[in-house]
Amino acid sequence: MAAQAPAFMGAPEVLIERLNRGVRKRNARWTFVRDHAFGDALTLRRFRLGNGLTVLTLVDRSAPTVSYHTWFRVGSRHERPGKTGLAHLFEHLMFSETRNHPHGDFDRLMERAGAEANAATWTDWTCYYENAPRDALPLLIELEADRMSNLVLRVPQVTSEKEVVANERKLRVDDDVEGKALELLYDGAFRRHPYRWPTIGWMKDIRGFTVRDCQEFYRTHYAPSNATVVIAGDFNEQKALSLVQEHYGGLSAARIAKLRAPSKEPSQRAERIFQLTAPTPTEKLLIGYRAPSFSDPDTPALVIANEVLFGGTSSRLQRLFCLDEEIALSVRGSISPFIDPGLFEMWIFLREGKRKADALRLLDREIERLGSKGPSPLELEKAINQLELSFLHSLETAGGKAEQIGFYETVANDGAAVFDRLAAYRRVTGTDVKRAVAKYLRPSRRTRVEILRKAS
């Protein structure tokens, strides 16, 4: 990134001293933790309020917008059987009424200000975000602080939102071949770890939630000490921190019970195969190899392997399956970015009349070749350049930067590690890729879902 106006005119210690002047409540006192370089020109700053709320700021005046992200360390992994989907349902309920704002006020105030407000839930986290014109920042801070502790949960809203989520499940899973196959894959690949159930939850569980379930979930997981706020974009840092102090400083440092680590998944010793029959015009293969966690030192090499196999039209499998052999319409691969070990997912969308067995044979052959000979220097160069391009694109907007920082803070425990990942990709050698492929992409470590056509 090129140079631009300094993010903040004074030293952070001076700023903190000024903000803490006259503040007696411990929960509302700021601590400056440290600065991190964010690329060549920007600085990411880490602050903490007395109640445990972590705040990361990134001033970037390239557009008159601001992005405000609140990441909670709670996702579907924190649920239990019979109550799956609660983290996601709760995300919906967070847009409901609070003690200070009636139902509908949140969305109306946000939209009136020109802000886009939304949220996402996955296995390890729940993220609430707003992308807004820069002048709207005080409103974002006030409303987010309010719903962190003042949410009101009543029967009508919970009932209506359960119906919305049931419909969302039908949209994304029940009537969607890919969604259904993914659900089957994770359910089959994991036996003990909570990654085995879908984040949206099983339909029976969604139907069964009560207001009490939701209240208990709120008390257990929603508190400043379990959250990180990321503010990125064109804003005055001192004013923003002062507003955060004003609105969050009164929240108590609620004790979040230390959650039991999820059961460790036993190692997989044989391939698992499942079949799914659906009204689909073409057959498909979904394969999940047991993969390391996002922070594992082997992951960058596997990400490079994914690029070599699936990244763009010149990748090995795209070329082989889609251009040379014309077996598939498309193929794609990705590694689940989870705190605990997840899956290296591979999709093969077969063309009409093509055989799964042929596709699997070709896939095995190519994986074996990569595991024994590794990538060529040109393949490594292509992979790293493509990853750099994707990485830079992800930082184009204030929202993109806030998302990356929040994700790395929550999943890798370091919001500033965004650029470290790119450096890690650059350090990967052909030998690293070869070793990672040989270690992880073995048939005995995979689960396979075969999607078959239902005769019409």
Binding site: S160, L171, P279
Partner: protein, 424 residues
């Protein structure tokens, strides 16, 4: 030659766009899909470089190239790491001036396009959207799909593609846009050396006949087995780009179904929980394009949801929008407009649209004023003038025997047609 530049040194990235005033509207009757096939065959690389080598060159530069064909334009878009801009420009220029257009690549591309048409049957939302446009526009060119269909693709040979290229691309009538980490001076010199034959695209668009409304309410059920949920599209004709009602209608539509807080979303999702999404959209083009509502209710209450939407629509048109709701929509549109221009590539896109699609410059330069000065009277008059609740196309992707009788009973329905999802 027209060159548009949006410089920004925030990230070491550069976006390049070659924008041609040709799209699927220029497909000859019976050869629907020709413009898209031509664009996609050009994307397979220039003469003297196999597709494989071309793709490798792009990837090793940290570049991506895509071709997007719409009704009225073809956009060749490239994005590249700043340090590799120069070689990327050379490759893109070769694609434009000397595309290989090889017979073997063409045969593969055609097979791929056919396979994509089959794969599309998995996507209920796309099935519904395509069927809605076909039912709304009938034989009018706006009812065509960009990629054509099995029959029209079968009629296209490599010679038609070469002819289409010679007629619409080789003459060099296009715009060049560059956005990102590059100065205007540098861009002009680079473009002049790579695109010396380029000529300015005229604003005169391709003549398109007027679209006509189909009288009455007509239901089309796209019949697909085992649907627990339906995709529902309800709509009619909307506005032209150069319609004096356009901005009043944009504001009015935003108040009705353009936000989460609007009555459409609140009544369908907020109160009843019937659909994950519920929005109305207003499209505009040279002639009147579509206005429609889209929802995705469960099969068991899909017809009830449609009835509710029809009721909301009638109330919106008959009673108009309240002053407070109109103010809200205006504030939303003005305040959120910064997100239409928060990256250099978005700013570039807006400028190219003005030139290529004959959009009045004021729509971009004075957007905030045009939105803010819409009065309640204008908004409500525009809604009544353009949106006809009596003349609607209702498309639902569903398992027909579960919903047909309830949709037939919807008020004012003149006809109901059932179309198998895989035999259209």
């Amino acid at each position: 030659m027209s060159i548009f530049v949006e410089s920004s040194d925030v990230l070491p990235l550069v976006d390049l766009e070659i924008a041609l005033p040709v799209g699927s509207l220029q497909d000859p009757a019976g050869q629907e899909g020709l413009a898209q096939l031509t664009g996609h065959l050009m994307r397979r690389g220039p003469r003297g470089l196999s597709q494989e080598r071309f793709e490798e060159r792009l990837a090793s530069l940290g570049a991506r190239v895509s071709v997007e064909v719409s009704m009225r334009s073809t956009r060749i878009r490239a994005t590249v790491l700043r340090r590799n801009l120069q070689p990327l420009l050379g490759l893109v220029a070769d694609v434009v001036w000397q595309p290989a257009l090889r017979t073997t690549d063409f045969a593969k591309l055609k097979r791929r396009t056919q396979a994509a048409l089959i794969a599309r049957l998995d996507d209920d939302q796309t099935l519904g959207a395509v069927c809605f446009r076909e039912a709304l526009f009938g034989e009018h060119p706006y009812g065509r799909t960009l990629s054509g269909d099995t029959d029209s693709l079968a009629r296209i040979g490599i010679q038609q593609v070469k002819d289409f290229y010679a007629r619409h691309v080789a003459k060099g009538v296009f715009l060049v846009g560059v956005a990102g980490d590059v100065s205007e001076v540098e861009v002009r010199s680079l473009i002049a050396s790579h695109f010396p034959k380029a000529r300015r695209a005229t604003k005169k668009g391709f003549d398109v006949p007027a679209t006509h409304i189909r009288r009455g309410r007509h239901v089309v059920i796209v019949d697909k087995p085992e649907r627990t949920q339906t995709q529902l599209f309800i709509g009619t004709l909307g506005a032209r780009t150069r319609d004096r009602n356009l901005f009043p209608l944009i504001v009015s539509n935003t108040a009705f179904g353009g936000t989460f807080s609007g009555p459409l979303m609140q009544q369908v999702r907020g109160v009843r929980g019937w659909s994950y999404g519920a929005y109305s959209r207003l499209l505009h083009s040279t002639q009147r394009d579509a206005w429609y509502m889209s929802t995705a209710p469960a099969a068991e209450y899909s017809a009830d949801c449609a009835a509710l939407q029809l009721d909301l629509l009638e109330r919106w048109v008959d009673r108009g929008t309240k002053k407070a709701d109109l103010d809200f929509a205006q504030r939303y549109l003005v305040n959120s407009h910064c997100f239409d221009r928060d990256t250099p590539s978005k700013r570039l896109e807006a400028r190219l649209d003005v030139e290529l699609l004959d959009i009045p410059r004021s729509y971009v330069d004075k957007y905030d004023q045009l939105v803010a000065r819409v009065t309640r009277q204008q908004a409500n008059d525009a809604t009544r003038a353009r949106i006809s609740p009596r003349d609607l196309i209702i498309v639902v992707v569903a398992t027909a025997n579960e919903v047909a009788s309830s949709f037939e009973r919807l008020p004012g329905v003149k006809s109901l047609q059932i179309v198998p999802f895989d035999r259209r």
